[in-house]
């Protein structure tokens, strides 16, 4: 018997929103863990990338919102490259960040960086960091 699970049946509005912003279904993932094996940032993460998806599948997005994982993700796309199910986990991480940034969460204060450091860093670093960590308005 084929059983199809969709967010409509077991998800909640916040998970539906994450899926919509990410343009990904979290239910595609079958928890093989390849993404976490490939991810270069796991030592600094407090939740593995595949666990992020698992919590979302279970409707426990609160756990994901408490995790540092989406904020440690560097959008390097290794997870997407190795996923046998074609899940773009980098997009899910971005959606989790984006929805919080839109509510005004501020993850870094670029203005606190020492001026000497600012003189050294490439522009793309500051611009991409502000895109990833600073609220939109």
């Amino acid at each position: 018997m084929r059983v199809r699970i969709e967010t409509e049946q077991i998800g909640n509005d916040r998970i539906r929103k994450i899926e919509e912003v990410a343009a990904q279904s979290v239910y595609r993932c079958y928890q093989c863990g390849k993404c976490s094996a490939a991810c270069p940032a796991t030592p600094e993460m407090d939740m593995l990338p595949n666990q992020v998806i698992r919590y979302l599948q279970l409707g426990l997005e609160e756990r994901v919102l408490e995790a540092n994982t989406p904020w440690i993700c560097a959008s390097c796309l290794q997870c997407r490259a190795v996923c046998p199910k074609g899940v773009d986990l980098a997009r899910i991480m971005e959606a989790v960040r984006m929805l919080q940034l839109r509510k005004g969460r501020n993850e870094i204060r670029l203005q606190d960086l020492p001026p000497e450091y600012l003189k050294r860093v490439p522009q793309i670093l500051l611009i991409s960091a502000s895109r990833k960590f600073v609220p939109l308005s």
């Binding site: 904020w71 560097a74 290794q78 991480m93 971005e94 050294r120 670093l125 991409s128």
Partner: protein
């Protein structure tokens, strides 16, 4: 041959030698990089949120303006290249988003510009065999670790440049220059990117693993196409040395710097760049063939 070129913000400020070396090497290879008119910042990240159309405005504006000058746009910075190529892919495959963004910026753009990386110009237009014949100072005996990083080749279907799992474009270039490309497992890993301002620990560890892996395979130099990778891999070495007394540094260069030197440019070209680990001693050992 004149090629329309997008330098991007970083190449105008912190990565001047990357840009200058690319232009000089181009002249020696028979093409001129001509800066496109009225360019702006590309946005420095491709928006991974599907509903964030606003972030497509600036890269689309760049594409639309470049299209007025040519049907091909050459990029150099791996970040700009990734953003512009991925945005172009959206323009080509999603007419709804294209209409929304082009209406908003009030520019016509049909997605009919080809975005090329400078490396693709070397491989597909100049040809590595023809390039090899122009080498004035062969990088004989030099072991060079190519660093691709995250953005140059991924995602494969959109970047369409090389196989991210078994890339060879850098290796083939290095071989044409007479150098020995170093094969090492970390070449397409992440240097920590923008995380260096957020999780310094993550960026330093990632960079240390990459540098350590290249070093263990005997690399004299690391080359990259990304100002963010160049910064992290080079700048973080001071931290690595603090944590490990036996640490030996490896210079990290832009590939165009090495290319221009091999084609006969003097080493003074490298002084336009901030190199935390000085590459000059390694290159001086090649002898001075500047022509």
């Amino acid at each position: 041959m004149n090629l329309t070129y997008f330098p991007g913000c970083t190449l105008y400020t912190k990565a001047k030698a990357f840009d200058e070396a690319a232009k000089r090497a181009g002249e020696r290879l028979g093409f001129t990089l001509e800066e496109m008119p009225y360019w702006t910042c590309c946005g420095a990240t491709f928006p991974l949120a599907e509903d964030y159309d606003m972030a497509l405005a600036s890269p689309t504006r760049v594409l639309a303006r470049a299209r007025k000058a040519s049907d091909k746009l050459v990029t150099l910075c791996a970040v700009c290249h990734n953003v512009l190529k991925r945005t172009n892919h959206v323009m080509q495959t999603n007419p709804e988003r294209r209409a929304k963004v082009t209406d908003f910026i009030d520019e016509d753009y049909a997605g009919d510009l080809a975005v090329l990386h400078y490396l693709e110009v070397l491989r597909d237009e100049v040809g590595f065999d023809a390039l090899a014949e122009k080498v004035a100072r062969a990088l004989e005996g030099l072991k060079v670790a190519p660093f691709y990083g995250c953005l140059l080749l991924r995602p494969k279907a959109e970047m369409q440049m090389d196989d991210p799992d078994r890339p060879r474009i850098f290796e083939d270039l290095l071989t044409a220059l007479g150098a020995e490309p170093v094969d090492y497992p970390m070449k397409s890993e992440c240097c920590g990117a923008f995380q260096v301002v957020h999780s310094d620990a993550m960026a330093t560890r990632c960079s240390r693993e990459i540098i350590g892996s290249a070093r263990a395979r005997g690399a004299d130099l690391v080359v990259t196409a990304c100002p963010l990778c160049q910064f992290n891999l080079d700048d973080r070495q001071a931290e690595m040395a603090k944590a490990d007394k036996g640490f030996r540094g490896v210079p990290v260069l832009y590939f165009t710097e090495l290319l221009a030197v091999a084609l006969g440019e003097g080493l003074d070209l490298l002084s336009a760049e901030r190199h935390a680990v000085d590459p000059v001693p390694v290159l001086q050992a090649l002898g001075d063939e500047a022509a």
